[in-house]
Symmetry: C2
Subunit: 356 residues, 2 copies
């Protein structure tokens, strides 16, 4: 779709007017406040054209225009110029991360808080895909007969645990031996490869080692599977959603909260944004597969560590959001988080636990 410059300007005017006020924008407003030196009648003609193209729509005959999803998409893709977040904002966001030594999980939670606070919408963080992180440590704890708690720690400091039922009762001593063995064998291997590595070890060592070790391998195998399957997502700041006039309708809000409860669908939705080639991904209203979210929009960005994408973070809110503000916040937060994950020594660092 190609628009001449003036039509583009009108579209832009309607979009930004609508985003600001939430009300349909009339021809008079456009001609007066957006510096196109033409009369409202001309604007009316252009608007009618844009409506024919499916970019604008009228809620009712005598109202102004609001953009359609298609119109917004065009605006986002080819009209909106994304600027870097202003330094002052950057500093504020940095500051929000600065307090207390935190582990990765806390860091991620805090990220979703920051997103929701600075965008005044719900913040959303998809946790690192474990397959992209490296093995650090595994530990088996015998909770009681036949019940073993398996704790898996990734290089980034993420702790995952799974309860495993085991048909025979293994004493803690043996469990300790297993974990020592595995910690040796698997050190720093990417979790995605741990599975095959385990299988290989099971092949190779069967003859050599105590049968016990094959058990260790099977145990960790199970725990690993659990860990890889569960991708967690964290949504924070629901309250901000309620401040949007479009969610004054309680029934609508209820549907949205309901949609949030089905984490797996949210995960799938955000998976789309795992593509490292694009920095920001925006899913607009009806572009989402989740029908309850057809009135919402997601702005997301991948984050990672040293080049590899680990997860996705972003913001979810009404279609009418201030993208020009939110996009820079999301990209900046993503780069900040990536940076923290990359070199945690540079990360949030008040020395709560430091003796001094």
């Amino acid at each position: 779709m190609k628009l001449n410059e003036r039509n583009q300007k009108v579209l832009e005017a309607v979009v930004s007017g609508y985003i600001r006020s939430g009300e349909p924008v009339g021809s008079r407003t456009v001609s007066k406040h957006y510096g196109l030196n033409v009369s409202s009648a001309t604007i009316r003609n252009i608007m009618a054209d844009l409506e024919d193209m499916g970019l604008l729509q009228q809620p009712h005959t005598s109202a102004g225009r609001i953009p359609t999803d298609k119109g917004l998409r065009l605006y986002l893709d080819s009209i909106l110029k994304i600027r870097e977040l202003e330094k002052r904002q950057q500093a504020l966001i940095r500051r929000a991360f600065e307090s207390g030594r935190v582990d990765v999980e806390e860091l991620l939670r805090r990220t979703s808080q920051v997103l929701s606070r600075f965008c005044r919408q719900a913040g959303i963080v998809l946790w690192p895909r474990l397959s992209a992180t490296r093995f650090k440590h595994i530990e088996f704890v015998r909770l009681r007969a036949h019940q073993i708690l398996v704790i898996l720690i990734t290089a980034s400091g993420l702790v995952q645990h799974t309860l495993v039922d085991w048909d025979e009762d293994i004493p803690q001593d043996s469990l300790d031996k297993y974990s020592r063995y595995l910690n040796e064998a698997l050190q720093d291997i990417p979790l995605s490869q741990v599975k095959e590595r385990i299988l290989k070890e099971m092949e190779g060592e069967k003859a050599l080692f105590d049968q016990l070790f094959t058990r260790a391998l099977e145990l960790s195998q199970r725990a690993l599977q659990d860990a890889l399957e569960n991708t967690d997502v964290h949504i924070e700041g629901h309250k901000h959603l309620l401040s949007n006039p479009e969610f004054a309708d309680v029934e609508r809000m209820r549907r949205i909260l309901e949609a949030f409860e089905d984490k797996s669908r949210i995960v799938r939705l955000l998976d789309r944004a795992l593509d490292p080639s694009r920095q920001v991904q925006i899913i607009l209203g009806t572009e989402s597969d989740i029908s309850e979210l057809h009135e919402m929009s997601v702005v997301s960005s991948p984050y990672g560590r040293g080049g590899t994408v680990l997860g996705v973070l972003g913001v979810i809110g009404p279609i009418r959001m201030d993208y020009s503000r939110i996009i820079p916040v999301v990209t900046f937060t993503a780069s900040l988080l990536s940076q923290f994950l990359d070199e945690p020594d540079e990360a949030p660092s008040a020395r709560k636990n430091d003796p001094s």
Copy 2:
């Protein structure tokens, strides 16, 4: 406050009528549907008396009556007869717990889900106070120079981790030694006593052991402090709140969500209910210290393990809740959870991880 039987019946009628409909209850309704064989005029007289006593109130002159907080309190304390939850409901709740082998955390999360689903309000679970549980296992993982991840596991299978900054770089080998030592020394000691036990060890062994061990003790000391301070609370099912007509007002709902975000206050509120002597505790509207929750009410019950109280679970919703239904659900769920914690072998047990 003492009421004669008839006045009590009128109060009961107004309360239950109001709870059912959410509307003020008129004298005619009471005289017709609640089997007191007196005319509406008589009821009107009684109602006027009850209003003088501060038990009922009128939203406006020509409306029926609704109970005041005081009236509700009287109803809950001395009129409402609490019955056991019907078997069918019991079975349904039991079933809701039956799927997949779950660890304690998952069990607790599921509990809040069950509460919210069966009460159609928000379910709330205060996590076990660590001080009441016993030490099982500790593990130190060197994430990078000067950063140690301390993982603490309680006998009930709860996993807590804390990141500790350490001024010197301890190799993983030594860390392993520490943990072996501690796991030996602290096995099965209540966490509340671990601290003093550590201090004692630090005293006694200083001369005997390698200085390293005092470090181990200090490390775990720090981690423990963190673990004991953080009491987590989990709230689920916000969506149900929106179904209550009293929260159709968005602004009100926003305030409530805001209150939920301040976990520490919620924790303090629920701490009241940690008293093991009372099975159910109800905090009605203005009885709560949190002003944002003055329009809400909390029904809670302690849960535990073998007699000691570990935490609190319950339901939070509008003051106008169906207590006669919710109280039995809460007490039953609490006893069920306690039972699961007591003998996890009897717990939810589909054998997802069971080879067969």
